[in-house]
Symmetry: C2
Subunit: 209 residues, 2 copies
DNA sequence: TGGTGTGAATGCCTTCACAGCG
DNA sequence: CGCTGTGAAGGCATTCACACCA
């Protein structure tokens, strides 16, 4: 078991492994080798063994990995065995879609609050969540023990919202606004800016053909 | 001017530079140095100079970069001076939100078609786009010269959709489905899987505190 | 003098290759 | 014999450091 820093991409790949293990489990396969798994995911066998190596030894020489065991181990590593409260800030087009997103519960995530600065929206119910005014972030985030926030506001208010969230003790932010948020080191930001992704594509379409 | 392979992250950062240059331009600043720009974006000055160096020399020794000039240069490099047709496949919660997303036109992107496999949805109009049956992908994508597709279908149909898109000559795919698409080398895929981003966050919340 | 452009150094991640184990 | 686990090698991206230029 290696205590060195785990590389960026390793965590994302562990989730891919877990997804694929579930698929294999469904079709009643019991065991898989790193090369079989790699072939299914377009990754090298060495990559997979190395990634797993950061967290322990899960395989059997000559036989590969027991799928049920590895699944359990990965679920533990990745925090899939616990539930998390999340909130969504900014209930525009995107925020509304997220409020209705059925995939959260698959990951043990529960939308515990929603906020918007527009007083016309405040008080409305979407799904079974009441939209709260943005001023209540501080009280609600801490009282409901929300650890993950999704920012779906316009760029110009995102930093202010982030600041409020941080003083309320948020741990993680998923940021849809097209700006780089300035946050302390102990807060993790995951940027999911649609424009950004699209921009990468237009660059490719423009240059690589 | 360097002809070597441009690193992964450089393109994304060029877009950040461009955004920030626009902000500076608005407040009537004419010139910026790599270190000033870096401070605003939380990046090192060397990083910025290196990134720009892949495409040419845009600065003046001792003075920094002329903002208007650099803006124009970046827009050209990044293909922001052209318009692109896109389509959206899978008009569920997410696909509908994307159809209503006002940000596309900011990037010169035009939604030229929408597809869904559910015949109850086919024929409906969202915004001013008629939802077409998924079987028409091949004919419409090529006839309307669509270069970018957004896949917002469930995971189990995403690969099939991708195959259809590829045979129709699509160049770029933005993939919201939680699977790794298998595509030829000349097609660029940008994964924007919400689950994936959320998973990274739960890992952080679980382990780094 | 202040700031660019860029080879060289560093550091991180992936791939290689193989000893060792079941 | 097949496959894991892991040091070593290799490759790619970022950072350093400085010659050179306005």
């Amino acid at each position: 078991m290696n205590k060195k820093k785990v590389p960026q991409g390793t965590i994302s790949r562990l989730f891919e492994y877990l997804r694929e293990l579930k698929n294999l489990s469904i079709i009643n396969i019991r065991t898989v080798s790193s090369s079989e798994l790699g072939e299914r995911l377009n990754l090298s066998d060495a990559q997979i063994r190395k990634d797993l190596g950061y967290f322990g030894s899960f395989g059997t020489s000559g036989a590969g990995y027991n799928i049920e065991e590895l699944k359990k181990a990965l679920e533990k590593i990745l925090g899939k065995d616990k539930a998390w409260n999340i909130c969504i800030v900014g209930i525009g087009h995107l925020g509304s879609a997220l409020l209705g997103y059925p995939g959260f519960k698959d990951h043990n995530l529960y939308v515990a609050a929603a906020f918007d600065s527009d007083l016309k929206k405040v008080g409305r119910t979407v799904g079974n969540i009441i939209i709260e005014p943005i001023e209540k972030i501080k009280s609600i985030v801490s009282s409901k023990r929300i650890s993950i926030a999704i920012i779906a506001t316009p760029a110009n208010t995102a930093q202010k919202v982030a600041n409020d969230l941080i003083t309320s003790g948020i741990e993680c932010i998923m940021n849809f606004a097209p700006i780089k948020l300035d946050v302390p080191e102990n807060v993790k930001v995951e940027d999911v800016d649609l424009s950004h992704a699209l921009e990468n594509l237009t660059y490719f379409a423009n240059n690589e053909k």
